[in-house]
């Protein structure tokens, strides 16, 4: 039997080549995007001499492998490099913005789980009933609505119409926890709803799948109450796929934060990444994608460890 710590250490070691692969991918993809960053930065002033000088300053005139290794060497020292636009250390830029994105993702994950999982369980437990149809309908609508539209609608409805919540902006939690929460409710809901829909549908399917298994039928046959069957037998067995999808959704939310941060003017990593993509700010995009990727891996690692807690059989693997 492998201890959770050994397992975690092994997974972390495996994360290194994965991150390396990701760094190659993001480095290569950025170079495939048309548009020379020197031209984008210089814009209308992009004379051949100006472009040449800037390419030299950014080391963009070097062969791609050299550029990659230069970036990688910096990373190993914890140096993400300087951004093209403001010459600011990227590490500090990310650190300044990461708490906003993490808080948003955490709140959205919580909201997605609190909305999606109960909805799915209800639908699965009452198959073809009203709750089930509602789950399916909400799931379909939730998956179909794009975040940017939902965000603006929530803003118009709950902020402009009802005047319940601020329409955007951010207040650090240290400054005022209440205002911080008020400012994050709409963004978190925007981010959460489509993910809750996915979770709801998946939870429903997982419950339905487990409910048909022999041990559940046996539990029913021996006279257990329906709620006992659901909570004692169905739910623990349906938990693994639900937790897996929840973890995946957390990853998607880290990506989805880009749009939501733009709509609600949140100073997070997502907004910075989008601006950097538009400006061809290579080192910023590379670094933020890598950090988001690393966080995604971490979430998956935690999920894998959680499997062992949920299902003891997993620990033996």
């Amino acid at each position: 039997m492998t201890s959770p710590w050994t397992y975690a250490a092994r997974r972390l070691a495996l994360a290194v080549p994965l991150l390396l692969g990701m760094s190659v991918l993001v480095f290569g993809l950025m170079r495939l995007v048309p548009g020379d960053p020197a031209v984008v930065v210089l814009g209308y002033k992009a004379t051949p001499e100006g472009v040449r000088a800037l390419r030299e300053a950014f080391h963009l005139d070097e062969p791609l492998p050299t550029q990659y290794l230069r970036w990688l060497a910096g990373l190993t020292r914890g140096d993400f490099g300087l951004d093209f636009r403001q010459n600011e250390p990227i590490g500090r830029m990310i650190l300044d913005r990461l708490p906003v994105t993490l808080e948003l993702t955490a709140l959205a994950s919580l909201a997605a789980a609190l909305i999606g999982i109960p909805l799915g369980l209800l639908g699965g437990a009452r198959r073809r009933g009203l709750a089930d149809r509602a789950t399916l309908a909400i799931g379909l609508v939730g998956v179909s609505i794009p975040d940017f539209w939902l965000g603006i609608m929530l803003m118009l409805g709950l902020s402009l119409g009802a005047g319940l919540l601020p329409s955007g902006g951010f207040v650090p939690i240290a400054e005022s926890p209440v205002e911080n929460l008020q400012h994050l409710v709409l963004p978190a809901l925007t981010l959460a709803l489509s993910r809750a829909a996915v979770l709801g549908r998946l939870s429903r399917a997982a419950v339905l799948d487990v409910a048909q298994r022999g041990f559940v039928q046996f539990a029913r046959a021996k006279g257990l109450a329906e709620h006992a069957v659901l909570f004692r037998h169905v739910l623990p067995n349906a938990a693994i796929p639900i937790v897996t999808v929840l973890a995946l959704q957390v990853g998607y939310m880290l990506g989805g934060a880009i749009v939501v941060e733009m709509i609600f003017t949140l100073p997070g990593v997502g907004r910075m990444t989008l601006d950097a993509v538009l400006e061809r700010n290579y080192p910023v995009v590379q670094s933020t994608v890598l950090v988001i990727g690393a966080m995604f891996m971490l979430v998956n690692l935690v999920t894998d460890i959680l499997y062992g807690v949920i299902d003891p059989r997993v620990r033996h693997r």
């Binding site: 548009g35 002033k45 403001q86 329409s167 955007g168 902006g169 003017t265 538009l278």
Partner: protein, 516 residues
């Protein structure tokens, strides 16, 4: 000047020019702007939502309009331009032209930098020495090429020495440069911590979120500014900005979606400022290669386009249709239109035929995909040009590709705007002079250079005004730049916000604004 900066893009650093927004005071302190009926009141916080976020607070770089509109409140310039386009005092309380090549400026003696240093002539000398020194590679330098140097005459008097007479000197001074203090620059990075003599001092800059400025108690104009605190935000979307204003998150915003204007104008909250056209939109015809190296074909386009239709269908009345860069009420308005009575399809067809393109022509229209109004302009243009047998291929390109194509002159027609028109030289010189790096239409003509130089290097305002209409007509007839509209600048605010009006410089200065 980067992609988003130059006046061509509304956020361009050229988007600056002078002007005390909200009407600065004359030397005596009389406010010039459209002010409210009631007496101005001290205090309050103005939460401002602009179109884009600031990037660099060093006025030497003057990189982005989004940066300028913030730090213009932190610094002062020697002179400003008011709503009517007249030059008014700033840190220079008066000036006189001693001869063709020297100008003398008297400075105020009570201005204090936010680091406690009093303003002296040495600060002005330092500002311009820094700007003009090629080693510093400051982008604004190119605009002051006729300035040889600045000399401190007394503690509060400076003399500008020019290499040749320079008509737009005052206009340039109202556009640049904010006066900086050497000690302040050494103490703190000016890109991040602006220190000027302006009405507001810099407090904090939370990147991607907001910039906070606070009233400067030692401001040299007694009683100004009225508002205690300015907070600048930059929501990325028009609707978000407007919703923020409606919910009270902001109390002043820079723009609203054009299609919402008629509905908003009927209401009381929010209220609009006065509106004036200060931002010319135009087509650049690539005259560096066929087919538009043929003047007749450029003329054909000029006769074929219907400006009124473009303004109506694309800009919902937020623009005025015009053929000149500085239409009414600019003091430089001429009313000249070499294609009056257009569109004239028959004439356009005839010109095409004379140029050997009677059987039709296929052209490319280059546009940045992030600017939907110009994409739509291209679509309307495509329909208009179809009537004269021209097929227009509208090519919306992403920033990087767009600039590569524009700078590499790989286009036939490109659409753009220009935001520096305090003096029309600031429009024609960069865009049409053969030596300018911003002559994207590739139009090179000795005659054009001669005309631009004559206008630029004449100092008598009366003589310049006399020669200007002919300059406008000449360029209209050449047709390498076809001005089709001008965006009306109009800001939106809560009903209790007063004293804010657009300026020809497009500056956002809140010195005279107040909250009831």
């Amino acid at each position: 000047m980067s992609n988003q900066e130059l006046g061509l893009t509304r956020r361009g650093w050229l988007a600056r020019a002078a002007g005390v927004a909200a009407g600065a005071a004359l030397a005596g302190g009389a406010p010039l702007t459209v002010l409210a009926q009631a007496a101005p009141k001290r205090g309050g916080t103005l939460r401002v939502a602009t179109v884009d976020k600031p990037v660099n607070m060093d006025p030497g770089y003057a990189q982005l309009y989004s940066s300028l509109q913030v730090y213009q409140n932190v610094y002062n310039k020697l002179a400003y331009v008011d709503e009517a386009g007249q030059f008014i005092p700033g840190l220079a309380k008066s000036w006189k032209q001693e001869n063709d090549k020297t100008w003398l400026f008297d400075l105020v003696d009570n201005a204090v930098f936010h680091n406690g240093e009093p303003l002296t002539a040495q600060d002005v000398v330092f500002t311009f020495t820094r700007l003009l020194d090629a080693k510093n590679k400051l982008p604004m330098r190119i605009f002051f090429s006729p300035v040889e140097g600045v000399e401190a005459v007394g503690t509060h008097q400076v003399r500008f020495h020019l290499s040749k007479p320079f008509g737009p000197l005052l206009a340039m001074l109202t556009q640049a440069t904010e006066i900086v203090n050497e000690k302040a620059l050494r103490e703190k990075d000016p890109k991040l911590f602006p220190i000027g003599t302006g009405p507001y001092r810099f407090v904090e800059w939370v990147k991607d979120d907001h910039v906070t400025l606070e009233r400067w108690e030692k401001y040299f104009r007694p009683g100004r500014p009225y508002i205690d605190r300015l907070v600048f935000y930059a929501p990325a979307d028009d609707t978000v900005r407007l919703t923020g204003l409606q919910t009270g998150r902001f109390n002043w915003i820079q723009t609203v979606p054009p299609q919402r204007m008629p509905e908003l104008e009927r209401g009381r909250d929010p209220k609009p400022s006065s509106g004036r056209p200060y931002l010319p939109f135009f087509l650049m015809l690539n005259a560096s290669k066929p087919p538009f190296n043929d003047r007749r074909l450029r003329q054909a386009i000029a006769w074929a386009i219907d400006r009124t239709e473009i303004v109506k269908l694309v800009y919902f009345g937020s623009h005025v249709a015009t053929a000149e860069p500085t239409p009414e009420p600019s003091p430089w308005a001429t009313g000249v239109n070499a294609h009056k009575g257009g569109p004239d399809i028959a004439r356009a067809r005839q010109l095409l035929s004379e140029a050997g393109a009677g059987n039709g022509l296929t052209l490319t229209y280059l546009v940045k995909s992030q600017v939907p109004v110009l994409v739509k302009t291209g679509e309307i243009l495509r329909e208009q040009l179809k009537k004269v047998g021209i097929t227009l291929d509208v090519q919306p390109l992403e920033s990087g590709q767009y600039f590569e194509a524009l700078v590499g002159k790989k286009f036939d027609i490109a659409a753009a705007w220009w935001s520096v028109t305090v003096d029309p030289d600031m429009f024609y010189s960069p865009l049409q002079h053969s030596t300018s790096p911003w002559n994207f239409s590739g139009f090179k003509s000795e005659e054009a250079d001669k005309r631009i130089d004559a206008f630029r290097f004449t100092t008598s305002p009366a003589a310049r005004r006399k020669m200007y209409p002919e300059l406008v007509r000449w360029f209209q007839e050449e047709g390498s730049l076809i001005v089709f509209s001008n965006e009306i600048q109009r800001y939106w605010m809560k009903p209790n916000v007063y004293g804010s009006a657009p300026l020809p410089s497009l500056e956002l200065r809140f010195e005279e604004s107040w909250i009831a």
